[in-house]
Amino acid sequence: MLGYIIRRVLWIIPVLFVVSVITFGLMHSAPGGPWSREKKLPEATVAALNAKYGLDDPIPIQYLKWVGGLLHGDLGPSYKYLDRSVNDIVADGIGTTVQLGIQAFLLSVIIGIPLGVIAALRHNGIPDYLATLVSVLGICTPSFVAAILLLVIFSVWLKWLPTFGWDSPANWILPTVALALFPIAQIARYTRASMLEVTRKDYVRTAHSKGLREGSIVVVHMIRNALIPVVTILGPILAFLITGSFIIEFVFSIPGIGRYYVTSIGQRDYGVIMAMTMIFAVAIAVMNLIVDVLYAYIDPRIRYS
């Protein structure tokens, strides 16, 4: 097992290398640069800026310099937020983004799994229809629509919760709910389908025929087995949630790093683009690894060597 984990961790390195080369290349091949303005900067100023930030070097040299910086823990300067380093920007926002992601993750697990279980146990009953309705709505409603809807209902009409910021727990509620809607729906659907499949398994029927209590059949025999496929999607969901949601951070003005995923591209803020991509890549790779390890733990049939 340990050998397996070490091998997988080592594999992350070439993955990150390929991701960084592709991103770096694409980013620099996009027309325009960080100094493009509607009020154009004089050519001498642009040249001076390029010299100041080393953007006049050939692209491969720039890449090597970036890698060199990365190995020393330096993500370089931001070209948009002058005087600030990418390290500063990431350090300022990552905690908030991760907190929001974990809150949303917990909420979606706490609601999504029971929702799926109840729906499966009351298959074709009212709870099933309601759960299906919730998950269909959750999957079909784009998060920016859901976010604005929550904002209008709970902040503008009811005035219960603040519309923006991250200062107090009251600020956390709406964004967490808005961000969790989609994963709640996703988890509920997976859980329901997987539970229904398990219901028909021989070992469940055996358990029934042995006269075990309904509760212990559901918990010990059904849920534990039904959750195996669900765990597979929890990893990517967690990675997706803790690397932030551009839309949710944008709508609720949350000072995380999620907003930079999209804005940095428009601004050609090269250092920030690279940092965001790498964080996302590392998060996905690590989450996938954790899921695989968890898998072996939950499913006795799986053994790594």
């Binding site: 996009a30 027309p31 325009g32 640069g33 493009s36 303005r37 509607e38 009020k39 154009k40 900067l41 004089p42 050519e43 001498a44 100023t45 040249a47 001076a48 800026l49 010299a51 100041k52 948009k80 937020y81 002058l82 005087d83 500063d88 920007i89 300022d92 926002g93 009212i126 229809y129 309601l130 309705l133 604005i148 904002l151 209008v152 209902i153 902040s155 503008v156 009409w157 009811l158 005035k159 219960w160 919760l161 603040p162 519309t163 923006f164 910021g165 991250w166 200062d167 107090s168 009251a170 944008f250 709508v251 609720f252 003005s253 000072p255 907003r259 804005t263 428009g266 601004q267 050609r268």
Partner: protein, 564 residues
């Protein structure tokens, strides 16, 4: 069936809950806790600056979010009054030498930074040199081009000419003969230059703290304005409070010492969310997106909170005059035809929600030198004959034309560009193909190979026609993407800059503008208009046409909040 019924019950339940909550919520303490703007008494102004400011270093800032804060926490030599006349600020007076090439500023008595140190003339010398130094690559460094030695410095390469730069800086035309006198020598007469001394890039900076601390944290920030920076939570909010060291005599006309105790700038990037925050009483000033304009106008409560007024900017479409075989390069008449075919009034109503003023020239209303003349009026019949004449002039046929109109995506230009293309199709039977590019790619394309017709905008740095004519359409202007060049226009503009008095300059600027409109290198479309919402309890707000981001931003220090 069951599903339908239970869903209906849920909806009804939800509505009942919502109704109950509405009546209680407005009085409950939680409403006050969340919407801190609802508290009565404290002098706190809540505004939205639209996002994290890229830099609060006055030398480096170039964008409106940064400017909106800098206007309160730093101070320039001269400032504007409510009518945008230049008035004394850190300088109590200034003399212009008879040849127009030297300006001597006399500083006010008892002026201090927020750290208590006195502001001395040498700090301006330091700050101005910092702005022009090519090693700092300041975005607005070019405003120093008129100072003696300025253009040499700006053109110097920070790598190749490294040895030269220090020498050039010592010869740069700024000096401080004593602590109270700041002298600027100009390379050529530039009567508008005193306006340059009102730009935030020219504020005094103390060498001692600039070289030690950065501008990125509130605790390190030393300002020179009526307010000071007390909190900067990156990407979340900025708080400013009165600067106890500000000399209230300077701002006697505005109301003396600052009245507001705190201005809280939030950073809401989504316009819809910003409007929601305004409606939830979390913001005192709102800037609704254009899609919301008609709802607001029809809302009995919100419609009373609307403030409208001119802003000093223009939206225009430029013609590519660099392509030697292009229709527009070869024929002025064709350019006029394309201008005459656009019904701007209808366009304003249809595509701009009625917010804005039809533009028929370059210099906007509210700026000296504005001419209320429709130089190329909407005239469909004339457009058609001019189009045919233009084709002949250019020696082209309709079939030769493969015209494109360029715009940047993601900023609601699609409907405006489609409107124009449709007008040309009906007038000339010509297809002009809209091409949208992402912002960075769009700007890149304009500087290299512009579209036949392309959208751009221009906003005033300072309220003087020089900023709208010389800086936009003179031959050498970097912002002249059209490639338009008329030596006579340039001569008129240079001549205007030698006249010390504004009333003597204006006829020359007017002549220049008339000449430009005769050449029709652009289609002016719309002068900006503010459509803002202001809560009734915000008092003494002074909106000016120079506000760049938030209505009234230039005079926030003297706003007061009525009990509510």
């Amino acid at each position: 069936m069951w599903l339908k019924k239970s869903f209906a019950i849920l909806v009804v339940l939800g509505l009942i809950l919502a109704a109950c909550g509405g009546t209680q919520g407005s009085n409950s303490p939680s409403a006050n806790a969340s919407g801190s703007g609802a508290a009565s008494g404290p002098q706190i102004l809540h505004v939205d600056m639209g996002g994290e400011p890229p830099s609060l270093d006055p030398t480096q800032a170039t964008d409106s979010a940064s400017i909106t804060v800098l206007r309160s926490i730093t101070a320039t030599l001269v400032y504007f009054d409510k009518q945008l006349n230049v008035v004394p600020w850190l300088a109590k007076s200034w003399d212009v030498a008879p040849d127009g090439q030297k300006i001597t500023f006399h500083l006010q008595d008892n002026i201090k930074y927020s750290n208590g140190d006195p502001i001395v003339a040498g700090d301006f010398v330091f700050s101005w040199k910092r702005l022009v130094d090519p090693r700092n690559a300041a975005g607005y460094g070019y405003i120093m081009a008129d100072v003696k030695g300025g253009s040499d410095l700006l053109a110097a390469d920070p790598k190749k000419d490294a040895a030269k730069i220090d020498g050039l800086l010592t010869k740069f035309g700024v000096s401080a003969p004593d602590d109270k006198t700041f002298v600027v020598e100009l390379a050529k007469p530039a009567a508008y230059f005193v306006y340059i001394a009102s730009l935030y890039g020219t504020v005094p900076l103390q060498k001692k703290w600039v070289s030690q601390k950065g501008f990125t944290e509130a605790k390190n920030y030393v300002g020179s304005g009526p307010m000071k920076l007390t909190q900067w939570q990156h990407n979340a909010k900025i708080v400013i409070e009165p600067n106890p060291n500000w000399n209230p005599a300077i701002s006697a006309a505005e109301g003396g010492a600052p009245k507001i105790q705190q201005v809280q700038y939030s950073m809401i990037t989504d316009p819809a969310a910003s409007l929601a925050a305004y409606e939830a009483n979390e913001l005192d000033i709102g800037a609704p997106p254009s899609q919301e304009v008609s709802r607001i106008q029809n809302d009995p409560k919100l419609s009373k909170q609307v403030i409208q007024g001119a802003t000093l900017n223009i939206t225009y479409f430029g013609f590519d005059l660099k392509n030697p075989t292009g229709l527009f390069t070869k024929s002025v008449t064709a350019r006029k035809a394309f201008s005459e075919a656009i019904n701007k009034k209808q366009m304003m109503a249809v595509a701009f929600s009625g917010i804005g003023v039809v533009a028929d020239s370059l210099v906007p209303p509210g700026m000296p030198g504005h001419q209320d003349t429709a130089f190329i009026p909407y005239d469909l019949a004339k457009a058609k004959t001019d189009f045919e004449a233009g084709l002949k002039e250019a020696n082209l046929t309709k079939a030769d034309l493969k015209l494109q109109i360029g715009y940047n995506t993601g900023a609601n230009w699609e409907n405006k560009v489609a409107f124009m293309a449709e007008q040309w199709r009906t007038a000339f039977g010509v297809e002009v193909k809209p091409v949208g590019l992402e912002w960075g790619a769009y700007l890149d394309r304009l500087s290299k190979d512009p579209f036949d017709i392309f959208r751009l905008g221009w906003g005033a740095d300072y309220p003087h026609p020089n900023n709208f004519l010389t800086d936009l359409i003179s031959c050498k202007s970097t912002n002249n993407n059209m490639g338009y060049c008329n030596k006579q226009v340039d001569d008129l503009l240079a001549q205007a800059a030698t006249k010390p008095k504004l009333e003597d300059q204006l006829p020359l600027y007017n002549q220049a503008q008339e000449m430009v409109m005769k050449d029709a290198p652009i289609i002016p479309i719309r002068f900006g208009q503010r459509f803002a919402l202001v809560k009734p309890w915000v008092q003494n707000l002074v909106p000016t046409s120079q506000d760049s981001q938030i209505t009234g931003e230039n005079f926030f220090a003297w706003v007061s909040i009525a009990p509510h």
